[in-house]
């Protein structure tokens, strides 16, 4: 019961961070990258299993190393972020598959939404709060650079550094999601609420707000529905389904 309470709180805060990160990712046209970027953790997870180290540490190490590689690639070659992520993803997946025992692979890709330790909870919460505050502080620079990198740079925004910050925040969100929510739910909470909000507004502040509200609603209603009605072993699928339902409803109120 305590676990469920902690998980609900973490999931709610996660949906806040995921909603905000998703909004920026949608505007940068890299919404699907979350799914792909999560695989950058694979080689680290595999090596951690092999050397009996905490898998989260191993996963985080290669995830952030991979993120840095993606950033370098796009900076040096001018490749689009999604292309750079694609290249690093392919390599990471292959290395991950080579070093990870098969049964651990599945577990490492799909975290669980049933068990959580107090330390894990606090760590996850701290990471998610860090993402939320960072996006809030960087929101102006991010929107300027999304509109036009030239104009943003002429205004004084340091584009390459900002790109790295955002990629790291994105990866951190994916990492927390991967560990505590599972890959499916993490992706759903990054992608769907922002897409829902985009249907409803052309204004930036409302876009962020609606994405966050859609995420919070999906998590709350998903937990409740699962606890009271469906009683599945994890609330993840219910939350993902509800976020998709909210998206469908948003199509009725499209803003143009």
């Amino acid at each position: 019961m305590r676990d469920q309470g902690l998980l609900l709180v973490l999931a709610l805060f996660f949906s806040l961070a995921a909603g905000l990160v998703g909004c920026i990712a949608l505007m940068r046209r890299m919404l699907l990258a979350g799914d792909v970027i999560s695989h950058l953790a694979l080689p680290g997870l595999g090596l951690a299993f092999a050397f009996k180290v905490n898998p989260l540490m191993g996963g985080a190490a290669t995830l952030f190393l991979g993120t840095f590689l993606v950033w370098q690639l796009q900076k040096k070659t001018g490749l689009a972020t999604e292309a750079a992520i694609g290249v690093v993803f392919a390599a990471a997946l292959a290395i991950g598959a080579a070093v990870t025992p098969r049964e651990d692979l599945a577990q490492s890709l799909f975290g669980q939404l049933e068990r959580i330790s107090p330390a894990g909870f606090l760590l996850g919460l701290a990471a998610v709060l860090f993402v939320i505050v960072s996006i809030f502080l960087l929101r102006d620079q991010l929107s300027l650079s999304i509109f036009s990198t030239d104009l943003a740079a002429a205004t004084g925004v340091r584009i390459a550094r900002l790109d790295l910050y955002f990629l790291l925040l994105f990866s951190l969100t994916v990492l927390v999601g991967l560990r505590f929510m599972g890959a499916l739910l993490a992706s759903a909470l990054i992608i769907v609420p922002s897409a829902t909000a985009r249907q409803l507004t052309n204004k930036l502040s409302r876009f962020f707000l609606l994405a966050v509200v859609a995420g919070l609603l999906s998590v709350t209603a998903g937990f409740l529905l699962n606890a009271l009605v469906f009683k599945l072993s994890t609330a993840g699928p219910m939350i993902a389904i509800l976020s998709a339902v909210l998206f469908s409803l948003s199509l009725l109120g499209r803003a143009r």
Binding site: M27, R29, R139, D140, Q141, S143, L144, I146, F147, S148, D150, L151, A153, A154, T155, G156, V157, A197, R198, T201, N202, K203, L204, S205, R206, F207, R256
Partner: protein
């Protein structure tokens, strides 16, 4: 007595093996309106970007202390689907630069940006409205130099006229220095007091009367003389332009 605002020496810009600007040097005085002309691919936009330090270059670009640059780019490849209103964009710059809240209002009223226009998504703005928003964006932060890249490309004549009226008033009322890239030589003749021409391997600088001659244009554009005809026709219309006013002074 005017003060030197910008001095450029031995400026070269290359992309890979291709050198777009080679060993360029010129100076701009405070209050000048310098038109940068030249055929496609001569490096006009590249020059503006180098002056803004948006791209790597060799040589020296020295702005005087206190120069605050505003930039109106030629084209924005902005995603028209972005959930950004005109106000979102202007407010983001104002907040990023810690400008007082009143400045956004002042710039908006100076450019007659209505509340309705400000709350419109950038994707739904007309070409002229979008251009006005870009100019407002450039004016935030009270620049004293405006770098203007083809400000009226793809706009209808009436809107074009309004944009240039605005340019006039910025220069006259605020004493702004303007660097203007333009293809339209009549506009150049009417607005600029100096012309910088860029062409492959050759550059020249001087007052419009000296630079915009048929022979110079023929050499610059290496093309049939329709440019000359065009300019000639519009010269007579341009009697109230800044260039002439300056000559009187």
């Amino acid at each position: 007595m005017t003060n030197r605002l910008l001095s450029v020496t031995n400026l070269s810009v290359s992309f890979g093996n291709r050198e777009v600007i080679h060993d360029l040097g010129f100076e701009v005085q405070e209050g000048d309106c310098v038109a940068i002309i030249g055929p496609n691919g001569a490096g006009k936009t590249v020059l503006l970007k180098a002056l803004l330090r948006l791209i790597p270059y060799r040589g020296e670009i020295r702005w005087s202390a206190g120069a605050r640059l505003g930039y109106v780019p030629q084209k924005i490849a902005a995603d028209r689907q972005l959930p950004l209103s005109a106000k979102d964009l202007l407010a983001a710059k104002a907040r990023f630069l810690n400008l007082p809240a009143t400045e956004l209002q002042e710039v908006s009223s100076e450019l007659s940006l209505t509340t309705e226009l400000l709350s419109t998504g950038i994707g739904a703005l007309s070409g002229g409205q979008f251009q006005k928003v870009l100019i407002a964006f450039a004016l935030l932060g009270q620049p004293n130099v405006l770098l203007f890249d083809e400000p009226t490309a793809s706009l209808d004549e009436l809107t074009e006229e309004r944009i240039y009226e605005l340019l006039h008033s910025l220069q006259n009322d605020r004493g702004m220095t303007i660097l203007l890239v333009s293809h339209d030589l009549s506009i150049v003749y009417r607005n600029a007091n100096m012309v910088l021409c860029l062409s492959k391997g050759k550059t020249c600088m001087g007052p419009p009367k000296e630079i915009l001659t048929p022979a110079m244009l023929q050499e610059l554009y290496a093309s049939p003389p329709q440019y000359y005809q065009h300019v000639h026709e519009r010269w007579r219309e341009g009697d109230s332009g800044i260039a002439q006013e300056r000559e009187k002074r």
